[in-house]
Structures are given as structure tokens and as C-alpha cells.
Amino acid sequence: MSDSAYLRPPWKNLERQHQAVTLGIWAFLGSEVLLFAGLFAGYSVYRGLHPAGFLAAGRETSIVFGTVNTAILMTSSLTMAMAGRTAKARLFHAARILLFATFALGLLFLVLKGFEYREDIHKHLIPGPGFPISVEGAALFFSFYWVMTGIHATHVTGGLVAVLRLIVTSRNDTAWLAGSGSQEATALYWHLVDMIWIILYPLLYLAGRTHG
């Protein structure tokens, strides 16, 4: 579709522009993967050095919040993917509803995360004086817990802003969802944020819970 209204300089061809946006977002996702890879590497090193501490600490995270949030985020990826499909099929109204749903689910994720953090703080699960688990390495687990979930939540927030932008910009011109490459780029980013969580979930919530 050469819908030249959506062409941005320096592009002369809309399909080329879309391809470039997709390539660009994939390159950016590469950098995001490396960002989290460093955190995962650090976590793995310490898990190897302090297995007992990590297992003891892993039992204290809130499995209910964690599992519910995982389901929410995965569903939001589903709605995001469906939004992409419907936009491509030019069913823009449906696409916008699905984008709303994605936004709502993402927001719900953050809200539940907030409640979870409140519970964690209530249980004094912040390394420092008053930290309840004395096994060496447990405090390290929670350092990584706070940093990893915090950075992930920051990325979710960024994703929400991007999704909101899709919703707002397409308000008066729903065809923009197909004409611009933004929808696809946002979707790819959102899926990455979901995949990072899928790795975080077992590391932070299932560790230490596999046997009595």
C-alpha cells in the first residue's frame, strides 16, 4: 500500500519505510536482550555461589502475584498480536479495542506489581537491617529481585506509553495503524517485554519451590 500520507522523510516508499522500522526495532531489541542478559548472568553467577541462600529466598517471593501477573502479561501479548492481525486486515475498530485491552492488561500488571511490592516491603524483604532471611546469599537474591523487576517494570511502563500513543494517534485516523510502522514496532517491543518476564518468572518465583 503506497499510502503516501504516512511517508516520512527520507523515505520514498512506504514498504521500505516499514521494513526499515522493523529492522530498526529488531536491532533495538537486540540491545535490550543484552541488557537483561547481563542481569541474568549476574543472577546465575550468584545462584551458583550461594545455592542455599537463593533457594531460601526464592520461597519468599509471592507466587500468587507472580503467576497471576505472568498470565496477565501473556494475555496482553495475545491481544497485542491480535491487534496487529486485525490492523493488517484493516479491521481498525477491532484493532483499537485490542490495543485498549493490551493497555489495560499492562496497567493491571503494574498495579498488581505495586501491591506485590507493598507486600514484599511489609515482609521486610529489602536487604539491609531487618532482612528476615539469614542464609548467606538470600540478600543477593533480593537485590536482583528488586533490580530485575524494577527494570522490567520500567520497560513495561515504556511499552504502555507506546501503546497509548498508538491508541491516541489512531483516534482520528484509524488507518494510520496500517499505514505507519509504529504498530508493528510497538508489538515487537511488547512481545520482548513479555518474553523477558517469562524468563524472570521461573528465576524469581519458582526457585526453591520445586521440592518441599
Binding site: 522523510p9 527520507p10 529492522l23 536491532a27 549476574g42 550468584y46 528488586w146
Partner: protein
């Protein structure tokens, strides 16, 4: 004015308000914005180290206090690495030239490009804030637990500054990658690209993949220092060596971010001023990519004495020897390009020659450092300081200045004064060697780095080094003066004063906003300075 199609203004005059500059999406203007910023930082970082070198004239450290000294060398490193070298060639010359060299109107994502600059400036703001708060004394390497648990000083703002500017790198890399893939003019296939474009592409791969690891490492340092979360603190189970692994996993590829663009520039300069096709073009491309890839796997050579296992040392040593090979190939090929060429000695070529000699010295001394038993002796001494300055200053800065001079006519439409430029280049070469060669010697003799006071037997070397620094520092002011002066008093450059090949020389000097009033003609071969077969056309730089 330049010979443009009458009424189209060039990019410098296409809107003259401050707003038109601060909200520009023109890659050429953004290149200028970066150039201005990095020049300011270059002189701040240079001032810091001038004070250091003055203090080192005497062994007793009687110019500044220990603490001030430590803060000075730290800020020199932070500024020069992240606020000068890393953005230098990519964000100034790369930004300006990449679209021109491939025949495009702009980068793939012009607004993202502007965001890159603002992120750089955001990081720069934190760095200036760090200076105002009295600086930081951890060394540019931020080793834990000193940086997280012991240092007094603005560690958080320094880390924040580096962290934010890192995103600038990532976005520039993303932009360059997409641009190279998707915006090449018809006929500009991958293996017709100038080596400068290839070097930008390879550098971008490293910027995109390595920088996030630094970002995350700095976040962890900030979390430990600011929020008290145990991460690297050994008394709470942390491992300070983990910091070193994470830090160097980025910081080694970072040095390739600093040298690959320089190699790209040198290829352009040598081909033009030897009037010769670059020897072994495809090997040059493979070498660039090989350096970028292998460079990710050698970081442990910074940690041979850190306590890591002998097996790790062996592996990293071997890979470090391997990464030297593609660099050597490039030096051979640049030299071979001169064979049967028609060499002239304008300032850019003088810088290219300087690069060849100095980068080779720097690279060869890398072999010393890759050899574990030698490294055990000379690591953390001035030998290492000399090694990396030969590469980063003798290599990268030389190439940056060479490129700046080479493309100055295209960027500004003016010619710089050639005699002054040659004088400055030669002065720099001598000043540089006088500054840094004695450091190899005193490093071998045991003079540790980051030392404020030192045993008197090293004084002669420090005096030689500081004398060189005075010459070198003076030499750096010359281009600042005559390049700026040329803007007002320089002769107008024509469209192609060097009669160089490359699409950028088909655009007016300076180019208009959209670069090419007429679509450029893409030749069948890059660097077609002479026909492949048959006798070379002589002298006057003419090529058919």
C-alpha cells in the same frame, strides 16, 4: 557561494534560528551539534590531564592534593572515553557522511538521530554536574567495592551521566544499521560501499550489543551505592570480580567502537591521496567484521591478575592474539595501497601516515599485553597507559582530525589553510611520541599508573612525557584556531577539491538539506581512482 543549482540553500543556511538548529532532524546539522559538544569536552578532558602532567613533573606531588589528583585523572578518563572518543567519529563524521556516501537524503530515522544528541547532552549534563559537585575519584573503570562502598565523590551522577549517554550510542547504532540496509541508492550494493560505511556498520553492531551491558552494570553500581542493595559487596556474599567481568564485557568492545571508525576514515584518506584503489577491499571488509565479532570475546585480558583461573587466562590470551590478526591485515593492505600509487602530502594524508605508524606501535604493544607473563609485569603500569594512548590518540584522534580536514570542504564549503594544517599534524606527531613513548619504558621499569607521587628514579621519564604533552596540547589548539578561522577567511571550496571518489563528493559543498539536487551516479567499483587494467593515468590526479 558553492556551485549549487541556484536557489537551494545549503544546510548551514537553511534556517538560521536557534530553534532551527535545536529541533533539526537534518543529519548534517546533528553531526555539527555533536562536533561542537565533543570539542568542548575534549578541551575539558585535556585541561584535566594537563594539570595531572604538570603535577607529575616532580615526584613529590606538590601541585595538587592526592584527592584532587585522583579526581582529575578520573574525569579525564570518563570524559575522553564516553564524551569524546565514543561519539567522535560515528556521531560527527558518521552522521554527516553516512547518508551522503550511500546516496540517501538522510538517516533512516531522523528524529531518533536528534534524540541521540539530546541523550548525549543529558549525559553530558550529569557529567558537568559531577564536576560541579567536586568530581569523582574511582578511575573511569569504577571498580567495586571501592566505587560502591568506599569512594567519596559524585559516583552516582558520574554513573548516571555515562548511563544516559550510552543510550545515545545505542540509538545511533540502530539508526546506522537501518540506514545502511535500507537507504542505499540504486546500484550501491554492499560490496560497492566505501569502507567508511562498512566501518560505521561494524561499529554500530558493537554499539548496539555492547553498550547495554555497561548500562546494566552501572545500574547495579548505582543500586548498591544509592539503595544499599548488596550486589558486589563481598561482606554480604557479593563478588567484586563479577563487576570486572561485566564492566570489561562492554569496555573491551568499546575500544573497538573507538578504533573501527578510525580505520574506516584512514581507508578513505589513503585511497584518495595515493590515487589508488584500496588494496584487498573484501579482506578489509572481513577484517572490520572480524574485529567487531572477536572483540566481544577477549575482555578477560584486562583481568589476568584479578585472581581468575589460569585456564581463563589462556583462553583470553589466545583470543586476544587472534583479534590482532585482522588489524594487522588492514595495516598491510593500507601499505600495499600505496604501491604504485601517486602520493601527495596534504594534511589528511599526513594524519593517515601518522595513524599507520602510531596505530601499529599501539597494536604491537597489544601483543605484549596479550602475553600473560608479560602482562602480569606491565599491567596497571604506564606501559598500558602508553599502549592505549597510542591507539586511541595516535590512532583514533589522528584519524578523526584527518577526516575532519578531509571533509572540511564538504561540511563547511571552505578550505582550511594547508600549510598550518601540515605544521599542526607534524607537531602533533612529535608531541605525541615525546609524551607517550617514555611511558612504555617507565612502565616496564615498574612505574604504576594512577600514581600521584612516585619514586624519584622515574622523574626523567615524567619530565619527557610532560614536555611532550605541552607540545601536543599546543598542537591541538592550532586546528581549533585555523579551522574556525577558515569559516570566515577560508577560500571557498569547490564541489570536489581533492578530486576524490565517493558519492559525498557529488553533492555541493556544503550540501543542501536533502543532499543531492540530482541523484548521484553510483560507480561500478568503490575507489575507482584508476582503471583496473591498463596504465594508470599520471600526475594531475585525473581518473577516467
Amino acid at each position: 557561494m558553492s556551485e549549487t543549482l541556484s536557489a537551494i540553500p545549503d544546510y548551514l543556511h537553511d534556517g538560521t534560528t536557534l530553534r532551527s538548529w535545536l529541533f533539526t532532524t537534518d543529519h548534517k546539522r546533528i553531526g555539527i551539534l555533536f562536533a561542537l559538544a565533543i570539542t568542548v569536552f575534549f578541551f575539558i578532558g585535556g585541561t584535566a590531564i594537563s594539570i595531572v602532567r604538570l603535577d607529575l613533573l616532580t615526584p613529590a606531588g606538590d601541585l595538587v592534593s592526592d584527592d584532587t589528583y585522583n579526581r582529575l585523572f578520573t574525569i579525564h578518563g570518563i570524559i575522553m572515553v564516553w564524551f569524546f572518543l565514543i561519539p567522535s567519529i560515528p556521531a560527527t563524521l558518521g552522521n554527516f557522511l553516512l547518508p551522503l556516501m550511500i546516496g540517501a537524503e538522510d538517516l533512516a530515522f531522523p528524529r531518533l538521530n536528534l534524540l541521540s544528541w539530546y541523550l548525549y547532552m543529558g549525559g553530558a549534563t550529569f557529567t558537568v554536574l559531577t564536576l560541579i559537585l567536586g568530581g569523582v575519584d574511582t578511575g573511569w573503570t569504577f571498580y567495586t567495592p571501592y566505587s560502591t562502598m568506599f569512594a567519596n565523590g559524585a559516583v552516582l551522577t558520574a554513573a548516571a551521566g555515562v548511563l544516559i549517554s550510552g543510550f545515545s550510542s545505542v540509538l545511533t547504532g540502530v539508526n546506522f544499521i537501518a540506514t545502511t540496509h535500507a537507504l542505499r541508492a540504486p546500484g550501491m550494493t554492499w560490496f560497492r560501499l566505501p569502507l567508511f560505511v562498512w566501518s560505521m556498520y561494524a561499529t554500530s553492531l558493537v554499539m548496539v550489543l555492547a553498550t547495554p551491558v555497561l548500562a546494566m552494570t552501572l545500574v547495579l553500581v548505582m543500586a548498591e551505592r544509592w539503595l544499599g542493595l548488596p550486589i558486589f559487596d563481598p561482606s554480604r556474599g557479593g563478588d567484586p570480580i563479577l563487576f570486572q567481568h561485566l564492566f570489561w564485557f562492554y569496555s573491551h568492545p568499546a575500544v573497538y567502537i573507538m578504533i573501527l571508525p578510525a580505520m574506516g576514515v584512514v581507508s578513505e584518506l589513503i585511497a584518495c591521496f595515493a590515487r589508488r584503489r584500496l588494496f584487498g577491499y573484501s579482506f578489509m571488509v572481513y577484517a572490520l567484521v572480524a574485529i567487531a565479532v572477536i572483540g566481544f570475546f577477549v575482555w578477560g585480558h584486562h583481568m589476568f591478575v584479578s585472581g581468575q583461573s589460569a585456564y581463563a587466562n589462556i583462553v583470553f590470551s589466545f583470543l586476544s592474539f587472534m583479534v590482532a590478526v585482522p588489524s594487522a591485515i588492514k595495516v598491510f593492505n593500507w601499505t600495499a595501497t600505496l604501491y604504485r600509487g601517486s602520493i601527495s602530502f596534504e594534511a589528511p594524508m599526513l594524519y593517515a601516515f601518522g595513524f599507520l605508524g602510531l596505530f601499529t606501535v599501539g597494536g604491537l604493544t597489544g601483543l605484549f599485553l596479550a602475553t600473560v607473563p608479560i602482562d602480569i609485569h606491565v599491567t596497571d603500569t604506564y606501559f598500558v597507559v602508553a599502549h592505549f594512548h597510542y591507539i586511541m590518540v595516535g590512532g583514533s584522534v589522528c584519524a578523526y582530525l584527518g577526516g575532519l580536514h578531509f571533509w572540511w570542504p564538504k561540511i563547511t564549503g571552505k578550505l582550511y589553510p594547508e600549510a598550518w594544517a601540515r605544521f599542526a599534524a607534524i607537531l602533533m606527531f612529535f608531541g605525541f611520541n615525546l609524551t607517550f613513548f617514555p611511558q612504555f619504558v617507565m612502565g616496564y621499569l615498574g612505574m604504576p599508573r594512577r600514581y600521584h607521587v612516585y619514586p624519584p628514579e622515574f622523574q626523567i621519564y615524567h619530565v619527557l612525557s610532560t614536555s611532550g604533552a605541552v607540545v601536543l596540547g599546543t598542537a591541538y589548539f592550532l586546528p581549533l584556531a585555523y579551522l574556525l578561522g577558515s569559516l570566515w577567511w577560508g577560500r571557498n571550496a569547490g564541489i570536489n577539491p581533492w578530486k576524490a571518489k565517493g558519492l559525498e563528493w557529488q553533492a555541493p559543498s556544503p550540501p543542501p538539506h536533502k543532499n543531492f539536487p540530482v541523484p548521484p551516479h553510483v560507480p561500478d567499483e568503490p575507489y575507482d581512482y584508476h582503471p583496473k587494467e591498463g596504465p594508470l593515468a599520471e600526475a594531475a590526479g585525473d581518473v577516467s
